[in-house]
């Protein structure tokens, strides 16, 4: 069980220069790929896995962990600097990060994202190291009924983000549900809404839809705006006050409650299969804004907004490893890729892993902590570089970003139809924004609907379609009640009066 010599041996094998170099390489690669629209942390890991086949187990896994951790902060960079999130989970970060950057404080916004990302990541790693096994057992109790209720809870909290028009938010959400329905239906396996296009059997590609709606729409609008092509996309005042370029300890500490809550949300969601970091980020942002004493300051560059999103989506990363290491069950694509790398290295994840490979596991934990510190240092250097890059004229930045979006989605999906989807949803995004329809509501329902439909049909089978059966699932019942409370609190009670404007 608890053998100090195994722990010490594991940690000492982690803290070597050899491992450090692979962690640094992984993080730098992850940050870069995360910053390319269309390529996400799972894609970065998929690209990196073949490179690890020739490495010993610990550096190989440490490299992949570094890629994953770097990818989470990488997505926030274009979200903050250009309002074009590199990954869907960074879309919420753009809501406050980009306004702060537009105020001439891009480095402050980027640093807050980095600090909170590392904080969330470290929190979930500590939870993984200390209480992975009991948490995994609790996670196992979360069946389809509970997952369905949890998604309803997430949707209820996120309802507060639809803007000043609930009816328009619902139109956007309805569109999200319809678009998510394209492809094979999860219960019967029959194709639907594919119009004879077999490329859409698996549904509309998530990366194409997300990048199209969140990034390409914005790029189209910025390229269509032909004024001041020589100006950089955001002002960067190098001679301005130092506090505009850094996050003070007071500002960081002032966000401690937000970050703690976001870290808990991210860790819980990360330990569960199928929900993912995008929902965690929006759930955390929605809750933070709705419970804030100054909700009107969100969407205008509030540091709490950035902290809420980045802490939550990064906390998912460490928590993903909980079911993987303790039960051998991958909770999402990233974990599934890492489990593949484990197997290639001759390691079988599961309940016996701590007994049979104790030294390696504690080495892995050591590498994770090493990766957090490295992520912080590499991030600080990298952020300055990115802030410098976007000082180029906006004509070049947005034109090259468009090419990166097309290239990234093509590489991620491997088929031309995905690029068509990307461009179509880019146009749809512009029309939706002009019509005042919330693209946040659209993308969240698009992402959550697939898992919701699967869980709901499983839950209906389990409960025979009888609502009374919920009484046998107290966790689900509590989540449903909580959802109703949140719909009232965040959806209706705190909604601005008609005629008032809301920033989201």
């Amino acid at each position: 069980m608890f053998d100090p010599s195994t722990i010490l041996a594991g940690l000492s094998s982690a803290f070597t220069l050899y491992n450090l170099l692979f962690v640094i390489a992984g993080i730098a690669f992850g940050q870069f790929v995360g910053a390319v629209p269309g390529l996400s942390a799972p894609m970065a890991i998929a690209i990196a896995v073949p490179f690890t086949f020739v490495l010993p187990p610990l550096p190989a896994i440490a490299f992949l962990i570094g890629v994953g951790k770097g990818g989470t902060i990488g997505g926030a960079i274009p979200a903050i600097l250009l309002n074009t999130p590199g990954t869907p989970d960074a879309a919420a970060t753009a809501m406050d990060g980009h306004p702060l950057a537009k105020q001439g404080k891009p480095l402050k916004a980027l640093k807050m994202a980095l600090y909170s990302s590392v904080t969330g990541d470290t929190f979930s790693d500590i939870v993984l190291i200390l209480v992975a096994a009991p948490l995994a057992v609790i996670a196992l109790k979360m069946g389809p009924v509970e997952i369905t209720a949890l998604i309803f809870l997430a949707l209820a909290v996120i309802a507060g983000l639809v803007g000043d028009s609930m009816s328009k938010g619902l139109i956007a959400a309805g569109l999200g549900v319809v678009c998510a329905s394209v492809g094979i239906d999860p219960e019967h396996g029959t194709p639907r809404l594919i119009f004879g296009q077999y490329a859409f059997y698996e549904g509309l590609p998530l990366s194409a839809v997300a990048v199209g709606v969140l990034a390409v729409g914005e790029i189209f609008r910025r390229l269509a705006d032909r004024e001041s092509p020589h100006e950089p996309p955001i002002p960067l005042d190098r001679d301005g006050p130092a506090e505009d370029r850094r996050v003070s300890w007071r500002e960081y500490w002032g966000c401690r409650v937000t970050m703690l809550r976001a870290a808990v949300i991210g860790t819980v969601i990360g330990a569960l299969p199928g929900i993912g970091s995008t929902a965690a980020a929006f759930l955390s942002y929605g809750y933070t804004r709705s419970t804030s004493k100054e909700p009107e300051s969100f969407g205008k560059g509030n540091l709490h907004g950035i902290a809420a999103c980045e802490t939550a989506n990064s906390a998912v990363m460490g928590a993903n490893m909980i079911p993987l290491l303790t039960l051998g069950i991958p909770g999402n694509v990233t974990a599934a890729l890492i489990i593949g790398a484990f197997v290639v290295q001759g390691i079988q994840p599961g309940p016996l892993l701590f007994q049979t490979q104790g030294e390696l596991i504690y080495g892995l934990f050591g590498a994770m902590m090493l990766a957090n510190v490295t992520n912080f240092v590499v991030g600080l250097l990298g952020l300055r570089l990115w802030a410098w890059v976007v000082n180029a004229p906006s004509s070049i930045i947005f034109s090259v970003s468009l090419l990166l979006c097309i290239t990234g989605v093509y590489v991620a999906e491997g088929q031309p139809s995905a690029v068509v989807v990307l461009l179509v949803f880019g146009i749809l995004s512009v029309v939706m924004q002009m019509a005042g329809l919330s693209i946040v509501a659209f993308i969240i329902t698009f992402i959550l609907s697939r898992q919701l439909e699967l869980s709901l049909s499983q839950a209906l089978i389990i409960t025979n379609g009888k609502p009374a059966a919920l009484l046998q699932h107290p966790i689900a019942l509590a989540l449903v009640v909580l959802s109703l409370v949140f719909v009232y609190l965040f959806g209706f009670r705190r909604r601005p009066k008609r005629g008032a404007t809301a920033e989201s």
Binding site: L170, I171, R192, R226, H230, T407, M434, L460
Partner: protein, 139 residues
Amino acid sequence: MRADRSIGAVAILVGLVLLLAVIPMQTSDVTDGVTAPATFPSIGALMIVLAGLWQMLQPTGATAFAMRELGGVAVVAGIAIAGFLLMIKVGYLAAAPVMVAAAMLYRGERRWPWIAVGGIVFPLLIWALFALVLERVLP
């Protein structure tokens, strides 16, 4: 106010077309199971219809359709679509610089050194990174 009501009307129309025509034609009929393939998309379409009705009766939110901006977006989208079709036809290396340069020119960039950097250097770098370093297949 009138534009906001129109959005409600358009939403009702879109929802009804989905509900009455598209979804029945594009889903299979099944006799077993707890949900039919049409259930979930129908819920989405119904949401659009009901929310559209709500929007028509009680218009809220801001609508900002600017035909000039929409026209500009159409041109940029056209450049992107044409650029991608060209990539499939003649290859990434030949088409990507043309696409980026066209987008830069439309954006109003007239300084040739910058157009050269954006139109030649960056597409080459992106191609080298994906095709040579990461060994990914590009069009």
